[in-house]
Amino acid sequence: MKLGGQIVTFVIAWAVLLLLLGINVLLAYQPIGGLHGFVPIGIAATQAFIIMAIFMKLRGRPSLKWVFAGAGFFWLMILLGLSSTDYMTRAAWPL
């Protein structure tokens, strides 16, 4: 097996994923206050993006796969977003 450009990309992606994991664990012990609610999720989203773009081969020309990968995410946001309208405001404005 030749060491082509693709393999280098895969290995770099793998290294970045591990690096992000390390950052995630280190930041968990730092006093960053309210950011603790967002930093791990932000890092996870970045990792997911790398896995999907490179390991699941979404990068490249626009394709139908983008639509369905995006659809899963978009519909998840509908579920989380609209249900949290209730949980964010129930105590303030109960019906």
Binding site: F10, L18, L21, V25, A28, V39, F55, M56, A69, Y87
Partner: protein, 217 residues
């Protein structure tokens, strides 16, 4: 063996193998979208309770075994790399590397499951297993229990997915060894690869929801 593979024909409803392979991948992507929503039901529950019981969730999450979680993340990320290397080898039509990379992938998956099992034992010793042994040290016991219920449902469901993945990867290794991908048609391998990396992606999010919170005091 490779003789048979060379004579591979598309199924009746397809014009050629390229169309068949593309279609199989599209099908898997749609299936993965349903999986996102399947796990999404649980994520919605997590989000609702995290918003309601933020401090208790911090207190609960602190008890999770972060070193096992981190090592397991590294294991799964590495398995995604070996998986994609197997597909790369298939594209290059090198039979032996496909088999080795697939076996490595399956082995990493098994290591993950082994570590996860050990983590459950640790959780039991920490008395954070609802129903079986549950005596939380701090926080409102009810809310803490909600966190741990989520933890077990989510990680067990993920483990089920991973187990299916290991079986599929192993099956693919057997097929590869018999030369099924020698003719350059390896769409089934790519489909399994998509599934595998997706299970990895789910774990990355579960890690973020479970381990790194509530630790900075």
């Amino acid at each position: 063996m490779s003789q048979r593979a060379a004579a591979l024909k598309p199924e009746m409803q397809y014009a050629d193998l390229a169309q068949q392979g593309e279609t199989a991948q599209l099908g898997m992507w749609i299936f993965l979208a349903t999986e996102v929503l399947f796990f999404g039901g649980m994520m919605a529950a997590y989000l609702a309770y995290r918003m309601t019981y933020n401090a208790d969730f911090d207190a609960a999450a602190k008890e999770s075994v972060i070193w096992i979680g981190s090592v397991n993340t590294a294991v799964l990320v590495t398995s995604s790399l070996t998986m994609v290397m197997a597909i790369h080898a298939a594209a290059e039509r090198e039979r032996q590397p496909i088999v080795y990379f697939l076996l490595a992938t399956a082995a990493l998956g098994l290591i993950f499951l082994g570590l996860k099992g050990y983590e459950y034992v640790e959780d039991y010793n920490d008395a954070v297993v609802p129903v079986l042994n549950f005596h939380p040290k701090e926080g409102n016991p009810g809310a803490v229990e909600l966190f741990w219920l989520f933890y077990f449902y989510a990680t067990l469901l993920h483990a089920v997915h991973l187990t299916i993945g290991i079986i599929l990867v192993f099956f693919m290794a057997v097929r590869a060894k018999r030369g099924a991908f020698d003719a350059g048609y390896y769409a089934p391998l790519e489909v399994v690869g998509l599934y595998w990396s997706f299970v990895d992606t789910v774990w990355v999010f579960l890690f973020a929801l479970i381990y790194p919170i509530g630790r900075s005091g």
